[in-house]
Point group: D2
């Protein structure tokens, strides 16, 4: 993995504020647990409200936190005066998402001025053991001069 | 679009039962509104609980219903005695998901014995006008002899 | 399909010049057969030099002309003073690419100032009948002020 | 990376025979340089015949060797009496493919009985330094009882 230097020293506070504005993350019960330059982790506890027909975490719930984790991993390297958009993502469902808790993780593979590429994944923790159940790629766009809180949108 | 002939005449009842077992669809407030051979539509009303930081539908919520719609579009053509798994999906985020309600839609492009490919999309309805906001592709696997309700799993 | 209005009335000449500079298209024996606003088709004859281990067209050869067709479909809508880059593409291999000739086709789904999304496909013509063997999605970036011929790069 | 145990001890010979039957690999000038359980590398020298309009390796040529490398990475773990099909792949174009030679590499992320998932990449070697220019994911299907040489097809 490359080491990244953030342009905005306050990237973590900026990301935590943005995450708090994502009502859907609260609906899922997701928590932002780790933010570093080019890396983000979002945690989710297993709840019956989030399951598919076989009792595992619905892939859409897992994709939601993986997509958000990737977005914030990329956003950590973008300027204060910007916002981030997902352009596209692709996920392979490697294993059923069985576990007591889940980590959605995004890592920047390439950070460009306008386009950033992340790998995104979902890890299931079951009986003390982690298994990667989703893995994929995500392309992000940086919107310069359009802060995430809409202050100068 | 091709015309498909289902192997199981009771495919709609089978899909409605499976949908009802998906707790996450209920959590989102999603409703199964249309099931035909090779086609499925799932509807979602806008609710603040489902939004991202700018007040639009979170892409993960949209992806959840698009993925489920694709899964059931494929499952409509599979035998009664089977279950369906998403192998992978890829989505492009074409426009912000702004609207009062959303339709997740899956359509089978290729139905094989083991592998099925669907196009999946999310349509936003805003002030009486529809706009496609997500579009993508999904690969499904058919598990023969493993009914969805686990009766002979 | 939407109808698109090109910004550059000479888009076809611009694309034909760019295609002629793609040495790899000549190596494959590919010909640019159709260029319209938001649409491009590239044709390839079957040749043993392009086959995989079972005698069908190698998916990489098909992907090459589908990717180029998508790139030029998008480029048809971009300004004269720009160049086009593929950001990413995803292809599903629906059927073996068996035929006497193949059409790679790109169609713009969304044309933005910086990012364009196309559907891309490969059609195999075998004994007078067409079959879609590859289908996918492609994201393109427009580089403004950087003409394709490098004249002001 | 996981460590994989091949089912067929003669996997390398089987893969080298299959590669030799891929006429398109010869057309590109590609060479199979490394085959290990769950891993494959294919090398390509830069040649003007393989370039796009800016003189770099055409993404389609790079995708061709990355796709083949992934296919053989997966095939290394499949039984002798099988063949391998690409179901789909997705590639992000991270950097222009500028270099004197290129390595297409596939690595198995998940090996299942029927479906295998690989990460695939293209590495450009320029002035003694390697840069990853393509990165993506690929899904493969194993066709049991259908050997690659068609002997019992």
């Amino acid at each position: 993995m490359s080491t990244f230097t953030p342009q905005d020293p306050d990237f973590e506070a900026r990301i935590r504020k943005s995450f708090a504005r994502q009502r859907f993350m609260g609906t899922l019960g997701a928590r932002l647990v780790r933010v570093e330059p080019g890396l983000c982790e979002i945690e989710l506890e297993h709840r019956p409200e989030l399951t598919q027909q076989h009792g595992y975490l619905h892939a859409g719930a897992g994709a939601s936190i993986a997509d958000s984790a990737g977005g914030y991993a990329g956003y950590s390297l973008m300027p204060a005066d910007s916002s981030v958009l997902s352009v596209e993502f692709k996920l392979n469902l490697l294993e059923p998402a069985r576990g007591e808790r889940f980590i959605g993780r995004g890592r920047v593979l390439r950070a460009g001025k306008r386009l950033t590429v992340c790998e995104i994944e979902l890890e299931a923790w079951h009986q003390g053991r982690a298994q990667r159940c989703l893995y994929g790629l995500q392309t992000l766009a940086c919107l310069h001069g359009q802060p995430d809180d809409g202050s100068r949108g």
